[in-house]
């Protein structure tokens, strides 16, 4: 864990349809908002300013920088993200290890990048350029993808490790994406998780998905599968988790259902933590 990563606690992706339930939840430490959903000149929704006034951290999460793209980063987009962070008094901003546009096409989607040395150099250069323009630290999320590029030279864990060694960025670990990729690649999710640079985590995303057509889709529209909660337990048993948040973007649940999911996340986190503390105690006792 980076010494500078703030203790965030339990969180959720803020979405307007969930605002009332979020406002009524007493134990949230932070929420995350999609930066591109909010216009620079416009007032924030009252429900968000209320959360800020209660001392809840609001983190802007960008989807438009396309750090994994071939073009150098757009300074205007980075500055807008940075200014938004300052407006929210956010301790960090987050983005993705992905690209979203190419050849003049906007895809509106986070797309995988080739895991080659050449790509790694371009990605690291883009990240470093963004970091120079940002007033706060940057966390980068691992994405899920239904397919990989051919000709991979490095595996995902080693690729990510090098990104976090060679830049100042920290990892926004999305454990549902780890689960989805493992399922779709035929790998063991816990083994995949264990190889990642867990010491570089800023905070954690958790979400639900659904399988159809023999493929697991990270829909953010369904309940969290047991396998994903297990991964959170495993993560929490291996390292201190300073913040974990639920992402729910569609098919919004009722307030009791939402609260039950948040409770399950908190429980999994604590169960893992209890195991870790017991192990550390056992080691020290010997």
């Amino acid at each position: 864990m980076s010494l500078s990563s703030p203790q965030l606690g339990l969180g959720i992706g803020w979405r307007a349809p969930l605002a009332p339930a979020i406002a009524r939840r007493a134990d949230l430490g932070f929420v995350e908002i999609v930066a591109e959903d909010f216009s620079a000149g416009e007032k924030l929704p009252t429900s968000l300013t209320d959360l800020r006034n209660r001392g809840i951290v609001v983190i802007p999460h960008g989807v438009g920088l396309s750090l994994g793209g071939a073009e150098p980063i757009d300074p205007a987009r980075v500055k807008a993200l940075g200014e938004f962070a300052q407006r929210l008094q956010a301790p960090l901003v987050s983005e993705h290890i992905a690209f979203v546009r190419a050849g003049g096409f906007e895809t509106g989607h986070l797309l995988p990048i080739p895991r080659t040395r050449a790509m790694l150099e371009i990605l690291i250069e883009n990240i470093q350029q963004a970091e120079e323009l940002l007033p706060v630290p940057l966390a980068l999320e691992n994405i899920a993808s239904l397919f990989d590029w051919p000709g991979a030279e490095i595996d995902e864990a080693a690729f990510l490790a090098e990104v976090f060694e060679r830049t100042e960025a920290s990892l926004l670990l999305d454990i549902e994406n780890v689960y989805a990729n493992a399922r779709n690649r035929g790998d063991d999710p816990v083994a995949a998780l264990a190889k990642l640079p867990l010491g570089k985590i800023a905070y954690v995303h958790i979400a639900g998905g659904i399988e159809h057509g023999g493929i697991y889709h990270d829909s953010h529209a369904h309940a969290i599968p047991d396998g994903v909660l297990d991964l959170l337990r495993e993560l929490s048993a291996r390292t201190h988790v300073s913040g974990v948040m639920l992402e729910r973007d569609d098919r919004f649940p009722s307030e009791p259902e939402l609260n039950a999911e948040l409770d399950a996340i908190a429980a999994a986190l604590h169960e893992g933590q209890a195991r870790r503390v017991a192990q550390e105690f056992a080691c020290h006792s010997v």
Binding site: A70, A102, G103, F147, G151
Partner: protein
């Protein structure tokens, strides 16, 4: 001027994106079934975003919404702004002939928004008039006063 490495990456990423959103051929070495599944997922995501952001369109089209939107999306990538509302407006434009209620939705977008290559902008003021099948509509948007709408008979 991109470096050689960036130029090569740009070409490779363009080829993949064309395959995903513009009916382009799937580049060599990719798992075709998975890339096709991803392309379908992208359309599905666009359609679901539109349903959330502009539910009236799906409501007015009813059962026809899914097939008509998917047909539009297959040949029309997202607008440059990547705005969901602008995507909805482009969809309505593509539909061509439509019910009066849908035409009013299109008119209300044109009254309130301007789509630009970088982002969707809110109009401070605007005026829209349309002679529809069963009604004539005049709508005006003025800073601070908001909107006023008038409906007249078609004759």
């Amino acid at each position: 001027m991109l470096t050689e490495a960036r130029s090569r990456l740009a070409q490779a990423q363009t080829d993949l994106v064309r395959a995903l959103v513009a009916q382009g051929p799937i580049p060599g070495g990719f798992d075709e079934a998975r890339v096709k599944a991803a392309a379908r997922a992208l359309v599905s995501k666009r359609r679901q975003s539109l349903m959330r952001a502009w539910p009236r369109i799906a409501k007015l089209l009813g059962g026809a919404f899914v097939s008509r939107f998917d047909e539009y999306a297959a040949s029309h990538p997202l607008p440059a702004s990547a705005s969901t509302l602008a995507d909805g407006r482009a969809f309505l434009r593509w539909l061509g002939s439509m019910s009066d209620e849908l035409a009013v939705e299109a008119l209300s977008f044109d009254l309130r928004f301007l789509d630009t290559p970088t982002r969707l902008r809110r109009r401070r003021w605007g005026i829209q008039y349309a002679r529809l099948a069963n009604v004539r509509v005049l709508a005006v948007r003025i800073p601070w006063l908001g909107e006023r709408w008038w409906r007249f008979s078609a004759n």
